[in-house]
Symmetry: C2
Amino acid sequence: MAYQPVTRLYVEASLGEGGSLGLAAPQAHYLKSVMRLGKGDELALFNGRDGEYRARIAGLGRGWCSLDILGLRCPQRDDGDLWLAFAPIKRARLDFLVEKATELGVSEIHPVMTARTMVARVNAERLRANAVEAAEQSERLSVPAVHEPVKLAQLLKAWPPARRLILCDESGSAPPLAQALNGLSPAPCAILTGPEGGFADSELDDLRKLPFVCPVGLGPRVLRADTAALAALAAFQALAGDWSRDRPR
Amino acid sequence: MAYQPVTRLYVEASLGEGGSLGLAAPQAHYLKSVMRLGKGDELALFNGRDGEYRARIAGLGRGWCSLDILGLRCPQRDDGDLWLAFAPIKRARLDFLVEKATELGVSEIHPVMTARTMVARVNAERLRANAVEAAEQSERLSVPAVHEPVKLAQLLKAWPPARRLILCDESGSAPPLAQALNGLSPAPCAILTGPEGGFADSELDDLRKLPFVCPVGLGPRVLRADTAALAALAAFQALAGDWSRDRPR
């Protein structure tokens, strides 16, 4: 079956059959100038709460677009509950990481400043825009929440103790991911990856002492920080996450 | 333990203690102008056959560098036997994919032209350069072989029947990867991913008829072509590949 893509837009407004909606200028521009849509064309809308709706362009001009909301296309579903906490990396790789993490089903993104993190500032707004775009393209019905960066100590202090923190431990001393996950009781999880230079010894020591931390190894090769995050997410979803669920359409 | 990186270079020449070596101009430039190394500084060399050797810069100038080969740093090891066959994608994403595939332990890279592949040409030389760089940075002792692109039918016609071809099947009808791999007999494997528009129906039909093909699903979300390849590689290595092996140093 060939997959027939439809233009999908994430909006913040409530969605319901028979309603109507005005789009912000960037989305109007995208529909008109990038997707070359016009009055009468259909697209799909989702907002993370109400499911996905068909919509028809009622009017479209320079910087504005009004839409009529038609029927429900897909009821809201649970896109999963998996957090990613990671030490930020350089901009191009960070954009890529957020895109991939969104495709791989992350529900919350937590940039974390560690001792060896070389990136001083994170533009959370830009990361949110990347997450929205990836959600639109990956058929998700939700967009991951992108948090403002916090220091590692802060993150751990405020950590919800019922959530398992899977520590990607590059020191070589942790059991392989598959072995570490095998036989663990079901719990909401988060994956934590360090910066290019790795976690500091003192950070690893502190992390390993926490009852909710589960250190795992990611194989015999040295992985870049972004590769480690993507690889851990994919392996987690395949082993213990939602990859056993069927494609919804 | 903080990881102390050393500059690593892939060379084609044979390596052995007491030998010496001249570098090509781009590598000499890299050592001098990027890494700011000079006469007497040490680095590491590997060639995919002889293991990794320490080497010392005997002389360095504009476009040339001579090295004295010192002792063995790490004996040659098997970097694994996993192929990646994929429909080529746009340049930036392709570079990224080759980098990540190298880090994830791929031994051969096969670009494959499918019915819906939108990329007309692949610069295999550039991909090789990316693979070399990623191998240098990921502590591999080998560089994946990058093949010239072939049509899917050609690839399948020449396929070694003892090698399992894990087909990333976006149609939603294949069992999840973990389930599909569970209980399979050990065999050398390859992962095959399609282009952005997916495989054509006829391609999927042909593939599914082949005895060495094992279709797998990659979860409930639509993945970009590059994400699918990376995610499948990571999940494979975690489940059935070499992630159970310890980090060598």
